[in-house]
């Protein structure tokens, strides 16, 4: 089948998509957008998190066909004309990235959080990121990074 949808503001067409393919597979293997990661492909780790029509979803749980005609934004689409997004800067600066395999998904999820909640409490950060596994950091620096990202974002407003 053919799937047509918008990714990071650009219309994309994927041809010869097999019905069983996930949005994650199409992004990674057919469109070459390898930012979203494939740590479990079962909806358990959040490493594949992308925005679908503005809401964070696990791209591994979305059938490619479900993306037809919709808007997808991936980690590759977080940075703007003014450089890295606040979450990206903060993660890099706060030591929230080690192996980085969890990072793309965490960035999308954290970006969504600080967009909805400008000054999240630690409890709110933990709740929002509860679906994103990180095996390297023990999450302390990730909490630092999300607090910092909220500050950076507020400073840009």
């Amino acid at each position: 089948m053919r799937v047509t949808f918008t990714v990071n503001g650009r219309e994309q067409v994927a041809d010869d998509v097999w019905e069983g393919e996930s949005l994650l597979f199409v992004l990674r293997e057919r469109l070459g957008l390898l930012g979203a990661k494939n740590a479990c492909e079962q909806g358990e780790c959040g490493s594949c998190t992308v925005y679908l029509d503005g809401l964070p979803v696990c791209a591994c749980l979305v059938a490619a066909g479900q993306a037809q005609g919709r808007r997808v934004r991936t980690v590759e689409g977080l940075a703007g004309a003014d450089g890295l997004a606040p979450v990206q800067r903060a993660f890099a600066e706060c030591g929230a990235v080690q192996c980085g395999f969890c990072t793309p998904g965490l960035l999308v999820q954290a970006d969504d959080l600080i967009t909805r909640v400008p000054e999240p409490s630690d409890a709110e950060i933990r709740e929002a990121l509860a679906g994103n596994l990180c095996r390297c950091t023990g999450y302390e620096k990730i909490l630092d990074a999300v607090r910092r990202a909220a500050e950076l974002k507020a400073a840009r407003r």
Binding site: W18, G95, Q98, C99, G100, L133, T137, G138, E140
Partner: protein, 769 residues
């Protein structure tokens, strides 16, 4: 060759020498999604490789019919052990693991056949059509039974025991007669998985010279190469290894996974082949932490001084040797921890079974024993009427003390001081019960505070740094200094694996400090330079750090010699801030001017001090290069009605000799502690009759951000004069000590014995038992 993605140089811009919290040079690539992990590599025309694995723990293969699989359109190759071009067995030190099963399988998930196809789904369908006639056999799964009867219970021809390492010091029998207090216990540890997030993956590209280029996520390029080349029937120079982006490792990438398989498929099809495991396959694709069964007995004087200790430690290695012999050595030599014990008997065994294969995982043989000896310390303290800190302080080893092996600790080991500092750290306030998120069970509303009890516990861990027992795990570094665009620029090249721990950052920091240059690039790790050893045993800061420093020193010497000849300057020169600086006259020239268009390049090997194997009868010997300590305090809230635990805080004191980069060091301690938390409370590969019951992140739980508490750290710097910059390896010790601290805290809250990790709810709740 047009790779759309390949590992590239990471330029490390800006400042940040040794001791600074320099930022990761690959950080920007990682936050933009551009960093090329092994599972992201792609070349036009690449085939998808897949692995057919055994569904049984032990079985004979009577016949395999590949015909139906080969007939599937889109399938390019189906291979079995008969297609292995070279040696059919491989292994880290002892080659006993078949590349593909030869007539029989010895564990569930053992690779049997390979498929290369144009789509992963095609490959999956083809695998379904491989017809195997199995004769299923009764698996050997009881490690203790193997120790008792190793000749009968054989998974391997050579017998049931991989290694038995005794340690004998003093006279236990007469000390036992003198002891005023005796405590004993049986402890066990379940199988823990590394659960790195980036699945095993890589790309093999056939080359025109008949060789193959491999881009893989590994901990040890040269260790891989030495196993891969003979199996592919190629000389080592025809197998070219490049490190692809690694999504975490924690020991799980020390053994091979898909490397030889992808190489075989690429050589056979003449096309690039990529293999990417999914999470289910990953649980079968790498070795795990050895499960352990342990029996301990301590005798002491009434005032808490240990007079003797005995320990029996049985480690189940699964079907193949892997690193079990070295895991046994760690369990034996570190099996009683950092305490002074005059009389002791330790017997550590590693055995073969048909359970999942086990090998390296962060903490490597020291983790299991640590849970037992720390549980024993608490038990002994209670029997003597002493608190957990006091009993440890009374028996604490320090610089000058002897380990169980007789090796004298010859650099700082400030255990007693660390415990005192840990105890002095402020405790967290009681939970704010108005917010359910602070209580065990959280927003699932398991409790509103009723039945919640707080507990505090302590744990101490002792880990060896670098490879032990006579292994010369040297590292090699090449450093080049030249002028680019008017600025002095350094390129550092090693074969050392960056697995997330921050080694690329550290290499750049060292080059900046040693050469006084800002612009440093770390070239991709590959085998065009000599061995760097494995990214394991907390050894890369020490070993590759040492090699980079040595190569930098050689480069610096040449530049300074050049400066003296060209400028007629004196002997008091050094490099700083891009300049040649004279102690007497200040800056005398820029490095750029001294170099001109010259390139200065040096390669150096760095070796640690020699060690010896443990004596096979007494276990004595100077077997370790360096030792490292971490101590933890855990505070938990337990819902004793439902058996739910919330870890409220972890506090740690660790001595690292020298803080090379505080930001990444803290990250290592946080992450290592969280893995210890996982082992204490949730992580276990559940095995029944040799079969894994929970190979997914749905059923194998690792700590989420809700499970992982705030961590309070105090980091000491007591330099080891033998180590580069005085540093002490730091990645593993926190993984040891957090587990027993958490278990002790849960014991304090519940009064339960808790002799097994991970703790299960049924071990805790009043109503379940």
């Amino acid at each position: 060759m047009t790779t759309t993605r390949a590992p590239g140089d990471v330029a490390a811009p800006g400042r940040g020498g040794v001791g600074d919290s320099a930022l990761r040079p690959d950080g920007t690539l990682k936050v933009t999604g551009e960093f090329a992990y092994a599972s992201d590599l792609w070349i036009d025309g690449t085939l998808f490789g897949a692995t057919l694995r055994s569904p049984y723990a032990r079985a004979r293969i009577r016949a395999i019919d590949l015909g139906p699989a080969l007939a599937v359109p889109g399938v390019e190759a189906v291979l079995t052990h008969e297609d292995v071009p070279g040696r059919r067995l491989y292994g880290l030190d002892h080659a006993d693991q078949p590349v593909l099963a030869i007539g029989e399988v010895r564990h569930q998930g053992e690779p049997v056949a390979l498929v290369a196809a144009d789509h992963p789904e095609t490959a999956r369908r083809a695998m379904e059509r491989i017809a195997i006639d199995w004769e299923v056999l009764e698996p050997i799964t009881d490690a203790r039974a193997v120790v008792a009867d190793p000749d009968r219970l054989r998974v391997q021809e050579r017998g049931g025991i991989v290694r038995h390492q005794p340690v004998r010091v003093g006279d236990v029998a007469s000390a036992r007669a003198r002891a005023e207090v005796v405590v004993s216990g049986d402890f066990s540890v379940g199988i823990q998985d590394q659960a790195f997030l980036g699945p095993e993956s890589g790309l093999a590209v056939p080359a025109e010279d008949g060789g193959v280029d491999l881009f893989v996520a590994t901990q040890w390029l040269w260790g891989d190469l030495r196993q891969i080349a003979p199996c592919l029937g190629l000389p080592e120079d025809k197998v070219r290894m490049t490190l692809a982006g690694v999504g975490g490792a924690f020991g799980g990438r020390e053994d091979l996974s898909m490397q030889i398989h992808a190489g075989m498929l690429a050589l056979r099809t003449g096309r690039p082949v990529r293999i990417v495991y999914n999470r289910y396959e990953s649980f079968f694709g790498h070795v795990h932490r050895h499960p352990a069964q342990m029996r301990y007995e301590y005798g002491a004087t009434r005032d808490g001084r240990i007079v003797y200790a005995t320990a029996e430690i049985v480690l189940d290695g699964g079907a193949y040797t892997s690193s079990t012999p070295n895991v046994v050595a760690n369990a034996a030599s570190l099996g009683l921890g950092p305490y002074e014990i005059p009389n002791l008997e330790i017997d550590a065994y590693g055995v073969y079974t048909n359970n999942p294969p086990c090998g390296a995982m962060r903490g490597f043989g020291a983790v299991q024993a640590c849970f037992a000896y720390e549980s024993m310390m608490d038990r002994l303290g209670a029997a003597c009427g002493l608190g957990p800190v006091e009993i440890r302080r009374i028996n604490a080893a320090g610089q000058g003390s002897k380990l169980a092996t007789g090796q004298v600790i010859d650099s700082p080991a400030p255990l007693a001081e660390m415990l005192t500092r840990l105890e002095a750290m402020p405790l967290p306030p009681p939970p704010d019960r108005t917010d359910l998120r602070n209580l065990p069970g959280g927003v699932s509303q398991a409790t509103h505070g009723e039945g919640v009890v707080r507990g505090v516990g302590y744990g101490v861990g002792l880990k060896n740094i670098c490879f032990s027992e006579g292994f010369d795990d040297y590292s090699t570094a090449r450093v080049r200094l030249e002028v680019a665009a008017g600025e002095p620029t350094v390129v550092v090249h090693t074969a050392a694996a960056e697995v997330g721990q921050g080694l690329v950052t550290l290499q750049a920091q060292i080059a900046r400090t040693e050469l006084g240059v800002d612009r440093v690039t770390v070239a991709p790790a590959d085998d065009r330079i000599g061995d760097a050893g494995s990214s394991s045993a907390s050894r890369q800061s020490y070993m590759t750090g040492g090699a980079v420093r040595a190569a930098c020193a050689a480069v610096r010497d040449e530049v300074l010699a050049l400066a003296r000849t060209r400028l007629g300057a004196g002997d008091d020169l050094s490099l700083a801030g891009g300049k040649v600086v004279s102690a007497s006259a200040g800056a005398v020239a820029t490095i750029a001017d001294v170099l001109g268009d010259r390139t200065v390049e040096h390669t150096r090997e760095y070796h640690h001090r020699p060690t010896v194997p443990m004596d096979p009868v007494t276990g004595q010997g100077d077997t370790h290069v360096q030792l490292a300590l971490c101590v933890h305090r855990a505070v938990v809230d337990v819902d004793v009605e439902l058996g739910l635990v919330k870890v409220v805080e972890l506090a740690a004191v660790q001595d690292v000799g020298k803080i090379m980069n505080r930001l990444s060091l803290e990250g290592q301690i946080h992450g290592g502690s969280a893995q210890g938390l996982g082992l204490a409370l949730m992580e276990e590969i559940v095995v029944q009759d040799g079969l894994v019951r929970n190979p997914s992140f749905t059923d194998y739980l690792i700590p989420t951000i809700l499970d992982t508490p705030p961590q309070r750290l105090e980091i000491l710097e007591r330099p080891d004069p033998r180590a580069p910059y005085g540093l002490r390896g730091a990645g593993e010790p926190p993984t040891l000590s957090s587990t027993p601290a958490i278990v002790a805290a849960v014991r304090a809250a519940t009064g339960r014995p808790l002799n097994r990790v991970p703790i299960r709810p049924e071990d805790l709740c009043r109503r379940c038992s």
